[in-house]
Amino acid sequence: MSSVAPEPVVDETVVDDGSAHRESIWAKTVYKLRRDRLGMVGLSVVLLYFIVAIGVWLGIWATEWGDVEGPKWAPMSAEYWFGTNIIGQDVFARAIYSTKTAFEVGLVVAVLSTIIGALLGALAGFFSGTWIDEIILWLKGVLDSIPFYLFVAAVAFALSGNPYAMHIAMVSTFWTTTGRLVRGEVIKLKNFEFVEAARAIGVPQVVIIFRHILPNTFHILLVQATIVFVAAIKSEVILSFLGLGVQDGVSWGLMIAESTQEVLAGFFNNFVWASVFLFGLVMAFNMFSDALQDALDPRKVASE
């Protein structure tokens, strides 16, 4: 080159304040979620249900759900908003109380099956191709191949009298999808250079899984938890209808089960209102879950 070599500039501290990018993936997610109108409607409705459930839990309302106070099959009125059932209980109070039951079942099953799915999925993925992976895949295969209601019935009979038979049955089958998704993601993540970097430092394998890999599957876990939540609520209704579900208290499923005798007699209050409550929550949760999935999709995040 004809030009003279310039004086080398001393390497100075290079940092911009980067204010434009100072936000986490979560801030982006929240931003995208808030722009999703359907998702926000869904979330508001879910929150409304949640407040109702909390109120029941604190004993603020629907305390009279078990009282036999009115006449049998009273029509909708100012006193009994949704009428009464076959033995004169207030359908409105029972539908409201069942919201708490639904959240209980949904949360317990969603949280537990997500934890189990995350752990087993991460182990299988990290040790893919080894006997650990084989065993977990085999377990998942077996559980997936048993018809769900048969399995629940079997668990319920095996644990006869245990009020949590339904929960146990659901958790032990619902973790498999989460596990499969996490396994795939972990197989992808474990080849990332940051995992290699951790190995090069000498970080123990267990720590690598929990500190470096699992936190990066959080978006999958969150979406899966919402999906399992809805699935659990829907299954609860069917199981309770079959008599395999909620053992004490009341739920939308039990209300629908009760209504079998009423519908034949031409009284629809129990059936209709339990269904409406169930439909509202499931619909709202699905809308929210879809929006969450879109907002967390890394490809869509990246394109912004």
């Binding site: 986490s24 970097a197 951790a198 430092i201 720590v207």
Partner: protein, 329 residues
Amino acid sequence: MSTLLKVVDLKKYFPVRGGMFHRVVAHVKAVDGVSFELEKGRTLGLVGESGCGKSTLGRAVLRLHEPTSGQIILNGDDLMTLNREALTAHRRQMQIIFQDPYASLSPRRTVAQTIQEPLDVHKIGTPREREKKVEELLDVVGLRKQVLSRYPHEFSGGQRQRIGIARSLALNPNFIVADEPVSALDVSVQSQVLNLIARLQREHGISFLFISHDLAVIQHVSDDVGVMYLGRLVELASADDLYRKPRHPYTKALMSAIPVPDPKKKSKRIILGGDVPSPMNPPPGCPFHTRCPDAMPRCKEAVPPRINVGSEDQPHFVDCHLFADESAT
């Protein structure tokens, strides 16, 4: 000067599974019998095109990929004979800098957590001392203290690469594998990071195995240079010697292929025909004979021996039949 690292006949074969029963049907010979020595405080540049096995070699030397066979003697200990615990202890003295600054930092860990992790794992110093060490390291790589609580996605490629370098320096290693550390960066940032690495070497006496596909980058950082082709080292010499007088036909072709940023110097180019053969099924004899402009009948049959075409104290090794008569010893 004394030898820090001696690698003898290192091989890394990846099994290829196929068929109904998932059996091993073939091997990808990513690294196929590589030997070299690295002296204390020096840099060995490793150059080659994609798929030649240079990155695998870098990882195999650190046992991040478990080598198939061979010896890796670092400071007198053969790493191949160590069990997991002993190897973890040895990781203090050897580190790696990665190519992709976007993939090499845990996205959900802050800069402070990332740089401090090696100190935590090896339980070095009190928590107080560790924090101080992290701040020192930031200073060394040219970043400000304010970045400590930030996450990787808030930084540019060059800054992330500096964070990765700080992490690899945390344990005061005496040997670092730098795997294409600047090839993902823009030109103006590339030179900043190269200068940083050169400075670290001068000031801390760290030995580098510096892997790159870019001959110009390799020349800038290396004392010695090895050229890889299809899993083998085909030429190994001091940088000055190699760039002044490349001997292996592949090295010559590689050098002539680099576009020169000067329109008046149109280089005479040796255009190689064809593509690199698959490492699953490398050609017999010399791996380069299928594309070599100087290939002889002998090249198809016999693997060329390593020949010293330099002097005893300035060796210049080349694996090529063309120089069979020139052996210095």
